[in-house]
């Protein structure tokens, strides 16, 4: 029996009787990170990295959860588990599973660049590597993120000079904080929408961020003018956004590499900034593990696995319920 199996409830380790990022209710769940397709509600017991504990408590409410440090080994029914940095969002991990000399690693989601808020990705040697491949196509080739942050600050400064408010949108956990961390507070004030503000508050205990001000009913439109507003993508075109006055809209996501996706999103400014590995990143990560077997889970799984086979890996695809296939259905981009 393989060390990890793909069952209808999730990725299962039969020897330990635990699940990794399960999508149905289970007794014991090891969780890679706080995004809703990986950390779901209803498990009896959660085990995750320390930094992810407050995140999933915030999202899931009252749960039974144990926190672990990176690299800390713990045994469940004789199987050794440990969490290792995935660099995806704060508190995100890869999960290493070792039993009778065999090592498997499940990546959850990951990226190789240091985003300034998450502990950077560390390769973990293994025999079998279960990897995401959200952007597993050679057309995805990320620019240096420092340049993207510069573009964002330039865009903000230009808007500010024109008296226009910058509405920058991204996912509430991870993307918004990454954007916030690299905004230049010398340009102006940073306002937030409720959802990302709450998550940012949770993360302030771990990470140093520029100041933010929550937009409430009392907030005056004049105070916001020319400043930066951080919000989730759902506000695009909403009554909430209309109240901001004259705005320029920006959206940060890896999908913005596609012209078609940019045009559908219909924002004024699209920034290609992703918390997932690009094509080269995925290949680099796989090589660094020195693995023999690769299992691709969500993203362009078939194409990516076929390419890996062509390059000599024993690669296959497994179906999971982690969302990834299009810019429309994705939760975490």
């Amino acid at each position: 029996m393989p060390l990890l199996e793909f069952t209808s409830r999730g990725i299962y380790c039969a020897a330990a009787d635990v699940y990794l990022d399960p999508w149905k209710k289970v007794v014991k769940a090891l969780i890679t990170h706080g995004h809703s397709d990986h950390a779901r509600w209803g498990h009896q017991q959660y085990i995750t990295h320390h930094d992810n504990v407050p995140i999933i408590q915030h999202r899931l409410g009252k749960i039974v959860v144990a926190g672990k440090a990176y690299g800390e080994c713990f045994k469940v029914n004789g199987v050794t588990f440990s969490f290792h940095p995935a660099g995806h969002v704060p508190g995100s991990s890869q999960i290493r599973v070792e039993h009778r000399g065999e090592v498997w690693v499940f990546t959850g989601d990951y990226k190789l660049e240091n985003d300034g808020i998450s502990t950077p990705f560390e390769p973990v040697p293994c025999h079998t590597f279960i990897t995401e491949c959200t952007f597993g196509l050679p057309v995805f080739d990320w620019q240096n993120p420092t340049l993207v942050h510069q573009q964002i600050n330039q865009w903000w400064a230009a808007n500010k000079a024109a008296g226009v408010t910058s509405l920058l949108m991204g996912y509430s956990l991870g993307k918004i904080q990454r954007l916030l961390k690299h905004l230049d507070p010398c340009i102006g004030n940073i306002f937030t929408h409720g959802a990302p503000e709450k998550m940012t508050q949770v993360l302030r205990a771990q990470i140093d961020f520029p100041d933010t001000r929550l937009i409430t009913r009392e907030t005056n439109k004049k105070e916001i003018q020319g400043n930066m507003v951080l919000a989730p993508p759902a506000v695009m075109g909403s009554a909430w956004a209309k109240k901001l006055g004259t705005i320029s809209t920006g959206y940060a996501s890896g999908w913005m590499a596609f012209r078609g996706a940019r045009r559908r999103r219909a924002v004024d400014k699209a920034f290609v900034l992703s918390d997932h590995a690009d094509w080269k990143g995925l290949l680099q990560a796989i090589e660094a593990t020195a693995c023999e077997n690769v299992i691709t889970t969500h993203g362009y799984t078939d194409i990516f696995a076929q390419y890996l086979r062509e390059k000599g890996w024993n690669a296959r695809t497994e179906k999971t319920q982690y969302e990834a296939e299009t810019p429309e259905t994705s939760l975490t981009e």
């Binding site: 196509l137 050679p138 057309v139 596609f258 012209r259 078609g260 996706a261 559908r264």
Partner: protein, 528 residues
């Protein structure tokens, strides 16, 4: 090239029309006249002919990117645009190129007659010299079809601002088959020479579909009613003994309709007529398929001319004795047109006069509309009596009131990824009808669903794929859609034996199971 690529980038970075116009106007003001002319040409879909096939471009791009052909093709299917795929896959380098837009295109034109290795060397070198956006623009010029979400109307408005010229005057000057290869910016747009005007058509005036509250708001007595002819819109020009026939796509099609040659001898110089080219097999108006047989041929043989003669159904007069009549009211233009017919009635020209009808009640108009099949028209045109002949699609004076489309319930059988704004989504669908227990393909349709429905169907396609054929997925027959179409004709070229015109999705029949979809014989019953 750099400035033009920056323009495209900036245009892509805003959704506000006024800003787009400003950006374009700025570009026209600051760039060289030769570059500006090429920009105008590209944005009005005039492009240099393709120096290399797209097959070769794909091969070369895969090679430079170090990818197997299959992987390149997969990437292309997902990106949905060849120019963009290549721009994304070719590795970036640090070198630069200072070649202007006009210089780049001149090189591409010269490249056409070179040997393949030389073409390859040039294109590969350019890919590496250009930034990602420049590369995208370069590839767009190379692959043709420069559709980037800027309408010709928007471009003309910007040009008007930059040159401080009237937009409609410019729209007229931009008509016809010119190319930067044979004209200059000044000669085309600023001080046009009379000799160049000889063949130039006027911009077509286009109608809007009637809106729901139209009949409550409008008074029937102010309208001229005509049948809406189902042929090919054309503009017939006679100047200095020469005949020019233009299609709405601004193509000169004089040679395709040799039977119209007598117009040149019979009509006086300075006559411009707006009408519909209609097929007349067996002496009566045929259907669109008949006309298609004529359009499709490079040369029109004697037999085809005999089998499917065409006539010009005239409904408007734009120029008479060299005078521009477009600003005269419709009733006056039609009066003049009636005179014309009277005066030349003995010449037996291949023309018809589209009858102008007048009614006292919209009810009577509706009854007339029901006669469309018998009149072999598509419905009615409603034109304000006092309307001028405007430029392009302008709301307010000309309306089309088409016959209700025919509809049929069909099953989704295949789906293909879309292009442009629909990149990466399954938006191009194939539909089947029942025939002896099998679903037989009868039409493809792309439009009619809302964005939300498109996303739902996209998800369905991804989760219910039976087989993949490159970009096409065969799906489990499960979804039923009501498909609307305009015309229907028997066809030996289609597997179903039937060709339908303008098929589109009317609605998603959530209430129907596939067993309840229509059959091919149901469809054939609709044949005239």
């Amino acid at each position: 090239m750099k400035a033009f690529a920056q323009l495209i980038d900036a245009l892509d970075s805003t959704n506000k029309t006024t800003q787009k116009v400003d950006l374009l106007a700025d570009y026209f003001r600051t760039t060289s006249r030769t570059d500006a002319l090429w920009a105008v040409a590209l944005l009005s879909h005039r492009r240099p002919s393709r120096p290399v096939t797209t097959t070769l471009l794909r091969q070369w791009a895969a090679e430079v990117a170090g990818l197997s052909t299959w992987l390149f093709e997969e990437a292309y299917h997902i990106v949905g645009d060849l120019a963009e795929t290549i721009a994304l896959l070719v590795p970036n380098t640090q070198s630069h190129s200072q070649e202007s837009l006009a210089e780049t295109i001149a090189t591409l034109i010269a490249l056409k007659n070179k040997e393949e290795p030389e073409k390859k060397a040039y294109i590969l070198a350019r890919w590496q010299q250009l930034s990602s956006t420049e590369r995208f623009v370069f590839n767009k010029i190379l692959t043709g079809g420069f559709r980037i979400g800027i309408s010709q109307k928007l471009m003309t408005r910007a040009l008007g601002q930059a040159l401080e010229l009237d937009e409609n005057t410019l729209a007229h000057r931009l008509m016809g088959q010119w190319s930067p290869e044979n004209t200059r910016f000044e000669d085309l747009l600023i001080t046009p020479k009379a000799a160049d005007q000889l063949s130039r058509p006027y911009p077509f005036y286009l109608a809007y579909a009637v809106e729901d509250d139209f009949f409550d708001k409008q008074s029937v007595t102010e309208y001229h009613i005509e049948h809406k002819w189902d042929g090919m819109r054309g503009q017939l020009i006679v100047r200095e003994g020469q005949l020019f026939l233009w299609s709405r796509g601004e193509e000169l099609i004089t040679n395709k309709f040799p039977e119209f040659a007598p117009f040149a001898q019979q009509l006086p110089s300075g006559t411009v007529l707006d009408g519909e080219i209609l097929p007349y097999p067996k002496g009566v108006i045929g259907n669109f398929n008949d006309l298609q047989k004529r359009i499709g041929r490079k040369t029109v043989g004697a037999k085809l001319l005999r089998d499917i003669p065409t006539r010009f159904m005239i409904y408007d007069l734009l120029e008479w004795e060299g005078k521009d009549y477009r600003n005269e009211p419709l009733w006056k233009r039609q009066q003049q047109l009636a005179h014309l017919f009277e005066r030349y009635s003995e010449q037996e020209l291949p023309w018809e006069h589209s009858n102008v009808l007048q009614f006292d009640h919209w009810d009577a108009v509706a009854t007339e509309r029901n006669r469309a099949p018998e009149m072999r028209s598509e419905g009615l045109m409603l034109k304000k009596r006092d309307s001028i002949y405007a430029v392009g699609r302008k709301k307010g004076a000309w309306w089309k009131w088409k016959s209700d489309p025919k509809t049929i319930d069909a099953v989704l059988t295949y789906a293909m990824r879309g292009h442009g704004r629909r990149t990466n989504l399954y938006t191009d669908y194939t539909f089947g009808l029942w025939d002896e227990g099998q679903l037989v393909t009868f039409a493809k349709a792309y439009s009619g669903l809302t964005d939300k429905e498109i996303r739902e169907v996209d998800r369905f396609v991804k989760q219910n794929t039976l087989a993949r054929f490159g970009p096409v997925r065969e799906v489990t027959p499960q979804l039923v859609f009501e498909i609307a179409f305009e015309g229907i004709a028997a066809s030996s070229r289609h597997k179903s034996g039937v060709a339908v015109r303008f098929p589109r999705i009317l609605r998603w029949r959530h209430d129907k199971k596939i067993e309840g979809a229509n059959s091919l014989s149901d469809l054939k019953e609709l044949l005239p």
